[in-house]
Symmetry: C2
Subunit: 259 residues, 2 copies
């Protein structure tokens, strides 16, 4: 039986000074011994990027008071890898990422640096969770998110997670008393309808800004989008075996090899 | 019945001048009307990164002769989004990415810019395929890869792909006569055992290079790693619903809400 305090790695993609990671550190402190290794600059939309063509910097910081903290020049995934190899020298009992400023529900799981850090933890066999609050503002109220992050992390420390899975947790931007509780969900079938804003620079060269409109095509009441729309905290178990197993027999009927 | 030539979008993550994309363009030309929109610089390891904090450039190039080509300052995913919105003004019949210089089998699907471009195509509802050759060298022989890319693309144009899926194709670095054919596989349970090379810069500050050793924990003979080790071209159907559906009933037993 494990009696010593669990080791908890905290990271994010908004950067080590973001209010969201401060909230997550505070939520994790009562649960274990917290290490922070987070990007030194915002890394939103970095997906599962890793840094292979340039060296990484890793510098100790006391930004979060007595908590052992390091800022890293790389991506969220780099932070998890470096934390394991160079800071914790082994695997923490829990890896938490966030609290992201903005939603990572449904298809956003794919673009999210927050979720990629959690996925990297999962690949390493560490129970891992990504947390996101549905509010982009720096002034967002993280009080409800902190409470639910703590409840969910405590459950994961207690139960562990099914092999090959991690959690994608999104918290509605509501007051604590408005939130109805936690719902385990599936990823909604939703996507971004992109449009690029086309502009002209002062030298008459075109440039483009990515913009987009989120569209939920999923009418199910068992999805993360439904849960969030109905004031629940959504918990989606995520896997990193991307195989579409159901498609294998279909493809096996194709006459690939001329037979 | 569709009689006009299919529209094929070609992209990659090694950059528009890489020999791998040249090989893929040549393989696709007999199958349809080819558009190339690819990064203006190598983007390996970019995962599903998108560019949201700076504008993108998109410039016409005749680098690939008569083929309509654009180089983009962004990531592979940006290229697919821009191609749909600004170049093709709609969805191509096929989106192919690669041929990557180096493997994207098993867990590498997660880190790969090549596969992220294909995944973005899949999310858009376009039949999409990522191709990778197991050879990092600029001098690699793409002849067998071209042949198999053409066979597989022709099959996808003919049959379509099951909804919500795309293909991850890896080609062994072998001569054509050594390759035994195509095998439909699942993603092997494998990962990178990372180690960071720690060095000192001329100013006595530490820096780190990511290095790693690939480890395959999977003994199955139905995996992409097995297929490649046995001189088959591996075809893994990949999905972008990351939900670990089997974990939902397990998590529903947790007393999250204090009940």
């Amino acid at each position: 039986m494990k009696t010593k305090k669990p080791t908890i790695l905290v990271t994010n993609d908004d950067g080590i000074t973001a209010p969201g990671i401060q909230a997550l550190i505070e939520a994790m402190k009562p649960l274990g011994h917290v290490f922070v290794v987070a990007p030194d600059s915002p890394q939103s939309g970095m997906g599962h990027a890793i840094t292979i063509n340039k060296p990484l910097r890793l510098d100790k910081t006391t930004y979060h008071g007595e908590v052992i903290g390091y800022q890293c020049s790389g991506t969220p995934v780099d932070c998890v890898k470096l934390a394991i190899d160079k800071i914790i020298h082994g695997k923490p009992d829990l890896c938490v990422s966030g609290i992201n400023h903005g939603s990572n529900s449904s298809i956003n799981v794919i673009y999210s640096g927050t979720m990629s850090a959690a996925m990297e933890g999962g690949i390493e066999g560490i129970p891992s969770i990504g947390f996101s609050l549905l509010n982009y503002s720096l002034d967002a109220d993280f009080t409800p998110a902190k409470k639910y992050a703590q409840i969910i992390a405590a459950n994961v420390l207690k139960h562990g997670l099914p092999e090959g899975t991690l959690l994608n947790v999104n918290i509605p931007d509501k007051k604590l008393k408005q939130i109805k509780g936690i719902k385990v969900c599936r990823q909604a079938n939703a996507k971004w309808q992109e449009e690029f804003d086309e502009r002209m620079d002062p030298y008459k060269r075109k440039y483009y800004w990515l913009t987009g409109k989120f569209q939920n095509y999923d009418k199910g009441t068992d999805t993360d989008e439904w849960a969030l729309d109905n004031n629940y905290v959504s918990v989606v178990p995520v896997q990193f075996d991307f195989t579409a197993h159901h498609a294998i027999p279909i493809l096996n009927k194709w006459k690939f090899n001329g037979k």
